[in-house]
C-alpha cells in the first residue's frame, strides 16, 4: 500500500493529539451503547420486583474478585502510561503485559462463574434477568478481550520503543472498560 502519511494526521488545531481525541469519541459512543443497555435493564428491573429473586442467584463473591482484579489491572495501565511518558518502552510493555494478565484472570473468573451458573440451569433463555445478565456481561467481556488484543499489539510496539503515545490511549480505554464494570457490578450483582 501507499505509505504516504497524510499531513492531516499531524495537524492538531485543538491541541489534543488526534488519536486521543478520537479515542474520547469512541468512548463517548460506547457509553451510549452501554447506557442504552443498562437503562433498559433498570427500566425493567424497576417494573418487575420478581427480578430480585433471580438476582439473588448471582455470585457476588466472583463479582467482587473481578472488580478487584480489574481495578488492579487499571493500576498497571497507569504505571505503563507513566513509564511510557518517561520513554521507557520495555518497562511500559511489561506493565501492559501485567494488565493483560489482569484481563485474563478476569475472564477466567468469569468463565468459572458462568460455568457454575449454567450448570445450575441459569442460561440466557431462563428469564429476562438472566438474558440481561449474560448480554451485559458478555458485551463487557468482548470489550475486555478487544482491549487485551489491542494492548498486546501496543506492548509489542512498545518493547521496540515505537508508538509510545498509544500506551496512554489504551490505558484510557482500559479505564473505560473498568468503569463499565463498576456500573455493572452493583446493578447486577449487589442489587438483590
Amino acid at each position: 500500500m501507499a505509505t504516504a502519511i497524510p499531513i492531516a494526521t499531524g495537524r492538531s488545531a485543538t491541541g489534543i493529539p488526534t488519536g486521543k481525541l478520537a479515542l474520547w469519541w469512541v468512548i463517548g459512543s460506547e457509553i451510549v451503547i452501554f447506557g442504552g443497555l443498562l437503562a433498559s435493564y433498570l427500566m425493567m428491573r424497576l417494573m418487575y420486583d420478581s427480578w430480585s429473586d433471580a438476582a439473588s442467584h448471582t455470585n457476588t463473591v466472583a463479582g467482587a474478585i473481578n472488580t478487584f482484579i480489574l481495578l488492579t489491572s487499571s493500576l498497571f495501565a497507569v504505571l505503563a502510561h507513566n513509564a511510557a511518558e518517561r520513554g521507557k518502552g520495555p518497562l511500559a510493555a511489561g506493565y501492559l503485559v501485567l494488565t493483560i494478565g489482569g484481563g485474563l484472570s478476569f475472564l477466567v473468573v468469569k468463565a468459572i462463574e458462568w460455568t457454575g451458573e449454567i450448570s445450575h440451569g441459569f442460561t440466557i433463555t431462563t428469564n429476562t434477568f438472566w438474558s440481561f445478565y449474560y448480554t451485559a456481561c458478555g458485551l463487557h467481556g468482548l470489550h475486555v478481550i478487544g482491549g487485551m488484543t489491542c494492548m498486546g499489539i501496543i506492548a509489542y510496539d512498545a518493547v521496540r520503543g515505537k508508538n509510545l503515545q498509544r500506551v496512554e490511549y489504551i490505558g484510557l480505554y482500559w479505564h473505560f472498560v473498568d468503569i463499565v464494570w463498576i456500573f455493572l457490578f452493583p446493578l447486577i450483582y449487589i442489587a438483590k
Partner: protein, 573 residues
C-alpha cells in the same frame, strides 16, 4: 479520475514528507483506497445503487396499490409477504443505505478535507474500514431478500413481537439478516463519524476559526455527533432483538417478562434524531449552493449554526411523538407534544434565514440552484404537515395513515433526492473535472420536482380520508374503495412512473458527462470555499500547496471589491 495530477501532488508534498509517491495499482486506487475522495465516490455509487433498488421497490408496491392483484411488469404478482418485505426494505434502504451514505458519508468524505483545506482524513484506514463494513451490510441486506422465506417484512421500525419470532413474521432468515445488516451499518457510520469529527476538530487549515467553517461541514459534523449520541441504545436493542430472534431470549416478549414497548423507545430514541442526521447535511448542501448562485453572503451564518445545534439537542426529547397511541402513558404525550412543537421553532427560523439569503441577491437559475430552491419549497410543505402529527390531538387520527407517509416523504425526498441532486450537480465539476449538461439537468429537474408533488399530494388526500399504511390490498375496506380514492392512488403511481423515467436522463447525463462533459476549471462557479482552490478533479493529496484560511466562506459581493467573490484562501491586501 485523478491520474494526471500525481506529479504535481508529489512535488507539492515532498516538503511535508510525502516522498515516496508512486503510481497506485487499480486495486489500491479504486478497490482498497485510502484517499478520502475515492472512498467518498465508493459511498456515492454504492448509495445510488441502493437507491435505485429502493426506487424499484417503490415501483413494485405502488403498482400493487394502484392496481391491486394485477401482475406487475418485472415483478409478477405481488404477494402480501413480498409486499411487506418490499415496504420494509424500501424504508430501510432509503434511509440507512441511501440517504445516510450519500448525504453524510459520500459528501462528508469528499468535502470535509477539501473544505477545511487539508489533504485527507486523519484516519484514512479507519475510513476505508468504515466503507468496507458498510458494503458488507449492504450485501447482507440484499442477500436477505433471496433466502428461504424472503426478506424481512415487519416494517422498517421492526416492532417486536412481530420481528422477534419467525412464527409471527414467517421470515426465519430474513429478519435476523436484516437486523444484522442494520447493526453493521451503524458500526460503519460510527467509525466514519468519529473520523469526521476528529478531522474537523484537528486538521483544519491554519487560520480557519469556528465561524469560518462552511455550513455543510458543520452540518455533517453535527449530524455525526447526533448519530453517535443516539444510536448506542439502538445498537444495544439490536443485540437484544437479535438474541430474541436467534437464541430465544425474551427481552421483548411479554409472555416471558419482556416488554415490546421498550424496543419502540430504543428505536425512536435513535429514530427521531436520525431524521435530523439526514436533514442537516441536506440543509448544509443547500446553504452552500444558495450564496454561490445568489452571489450573496449567507444571511445570518451564526443563526443557522446555532439553530442547527438547537434542533439537534431538541431532537433527543421528542421521540415519543411516534408512540402517542402505542400504549404509552397518555400523560407523557402532553410533554412530547410540547417538545415537538418547540422543535418547529429553530427549524422555522433556519428556513426563514435561507429565504432571507435570497433577498437582494442576483440569482442565476442553474440546475443546482433550481434543486436548492425546490428543496426549500418542498421541505416547507413537509415541515408544516408535520404539525398535524406532532399535535397529539390530531395525531390520534393521522397516526399510521398515508398522511404520515406523505408527510415524511415530503421531508425525506427533498433531503435524500432533491438536495442530493443539488449537491451532485454542484460538485460534479470538482468530482470529475467536467460539467454536467445544464439543459438535460433542467429537464431532469422539472421531471423530478413536478411528479414528486404528483405522487405525494394525492397521498395526503387518501391519508386524510383514512388510508392506513402498509396494507397490500384495501379490498376489505369499503370506505377506502371509493372511485376518487382509487383515482388518487393511481394518479400517485403514474406520477411515480414518470418520476422514475426522468431519472434515466440523470443517469445518462451523469455517466456521459463523467467522461465526455465540458471541461471545468478549478473554480467554475466562482465560489469561495476551499475545495475550489484545488484542481478539478483534485489529485491524491488534494492541493498543490495547502491553503491557509483568511475569512469566512460566504464573502460574496463585498462592497469595494472588483470581483464579486473573495476566496477563503486569498490573503487580504
Amino acid at each position: 479520475m485523478a491520474t494526471q495530477g500525481h506529479a504535481a501532488a508529489a512535488n507539492g508534498h515532498d516538503a511535508h514528507g510525502h516522498g515516496d509517491h508512486h503510481e497506485l495499482s487499480f486495486l489500491q486506487k479504486y478497490i482498497f483506497p485510502l484517499d478520502h475522495k475515492i472512498i467518498g465516490m465508493q459511498y456515492l455509487f454504492t448509495g445510488i445503487f441502493m437507491g435505485v433498488i429502493g426506487a424499484l421497490m417503490s415501483y413494485a408496491f405502488r403498482m400493487q396499490m394502484a392496481f391491486p392483484g394485477k401482475a406487475v411488469p418485472l415483478f409478477g404478482l405481488i404477494t402480501p409477504e413480498f409486499y411487506n418485505s418490499m415496504v420494509t426494505n424500501h424504508g430501510s434502504i432509503m434511509i440507512f443505505w441511501f440517504a445516510m451514505p450519500v448525504l453524510i458519508a459520500a459528501f462528508g468524505n469528499f468535502l470535509i478535507p477539501l473544505m477545511i483545506g487539508c489533504d485527507d482524513m486523519v484516519f484514512p484506514r479507519v475510513n476505508r474500514l468504515s466503507y468496507q463494513i458498510f458494503l458488507l451490510s449492504a450485501v447482507i441486506l440484499i442477500a436477505s431478500m433471496f433466502v428461504p422465506g424472503g426478506g424481512f417484512g415487519g416494517a422498517w421500525t421492526s416492532y417486536p413481537p412481530l420481528s422477534a419470532s419467525a412464527v409471527y413474521n414467517q421470515t426465519p432468515y430474513g429478519a435476523p439478516m436484516w437486523l444484522l445488516a442494520v447493526a453493521l451499518e451503524f458500526v460503519a457510520f460510527l467509525l466514519g463519524g468519529i473520523n469526521f469529527i476528529t478531522t474537523l476538530m484537528n486538521a483544519r487549515a491554519p487560520g480557519m476559526k469556528m465561524y469560518d467553517i462552511p455550513i455543510v461541514v458543520w452540518m455533517i459534523i453535527i449530524a455525526s455527533i447526533l448519530f453517535m449520541a443516539s444510536v448506542g441504545p439502538l445498537i444495544a436493542g439490536a443485540v437484544m432483538l437479535l438474541f430474541d430472534q436467534t437464541i430465544g431470549t425474551g427481552f421483548f416478549d411479554p409472555v416471558r417478562g419482556g416488554d415490546p414497548v421498550l424496543w419502540q423507545h430504543l428505536f425512536w430514541f435513535f429514530g427521531h434524531p436520525e431524521v435530523y442526521v439526514v436533514l442537516l447535511p441536506a440543509l448544509g448542501i443547500v446553504a452552500e449552493i444558495l450564496p454561490v448562485f445568489a452571489r450573496k453572503k449567507l444571511f445570518a451564518y451564526k443563526t443557522i449554526l446555532w439553530t442547527a445545534i438547537a434542533t439537534g439537542v431538541l431532537s433527543f426529547v421528542v421521540w415519543a411523538h411516534h408512540q402517542f397511541v402505542a400504549g404509552i402513558d397518555p400523560r407523557m404525550a402532553n410533554i412530547f407534544t410540547v417538545t415537538t412543537l418547540l422543535i418547529s421553532v429553530p427549524i422555522t427560523e433556519m428556513l426563514f434565514v435561507y429565504i432571507g439569503t435570497l433577498y437582494g441577491g442576483s440569482i442565476l437559475l442553474t440546475t443546482p440552484m433550481l434543486f436548492a430552491i425546490a428543496f426549500i419549497a418542498e421541505f416547507l410543505i413537509g415541515g408544516v404537515t408535520g404539525i398535524f402529527l406532532g399535535a397529539s390531538g390530531s395525531d390520534i387520527y393521522f397516526h399510521d395513515t398515508y398522511f404520515v407517509l406523505a408527510h415524511f416523504h415530503y421531508t425525506f425526498v427533498p433531503i435524500a433526492v432533491i438536495a442530493v441532486f443539488a449537491g451532485i450537480y454542484y460538485w460534479f465539476p470538482k468530482m470529475f473535472g467536467r460539467f454536467m449538461n445544464d439543459f438535460w439537468g433542467k429537464v431532469h429537474f422539472w421531471g423530478t420536482a413536478i411528479p414528486f408533488n404528483g405522487i405525494f399530494l394525492p397521498l395526503f388526500y387518501t391519508g386524510a380520508a383514512g388510508d392506513h399504511r402498509r396494507s397490500f390490498d384495501l379490498l376489505n375496506f369499503p370506505e377506502l374503495n371509493q372511485p376518487n380514492l382509487i383515482f388518487a392512488r393511481q394518479f400517485a403511481t403514474i406520477s411515480l412512473l414518470v418520476m422514475l423515467a426522468f431519472q434515466v436522463i440523470f443517469f445518462i447525463n451523469f455517466f456521459y458527462c463523467m467522461f465526455r462533459g465540458r471541461k471545468a476549471g478549478a473554480n467554475p462557479w466562482n465560489a469561495n470555499t476551499l475545495e475550489w482552490v484545488a484542481p478539478s478533479p483534485p489529485p491524491h493529496g488534494n492541493f498543490a500547496e495547502l491553503p491557509n484560511c483568511h475569512r469566512g466562506p460566504y464573502e460574496y459581493s463585498v462592497p469595494g471589491r472588483d470581483s464579486d467573490y473573495w476566496p477563503q484562501n486569498e490573503p487580504a491586501t
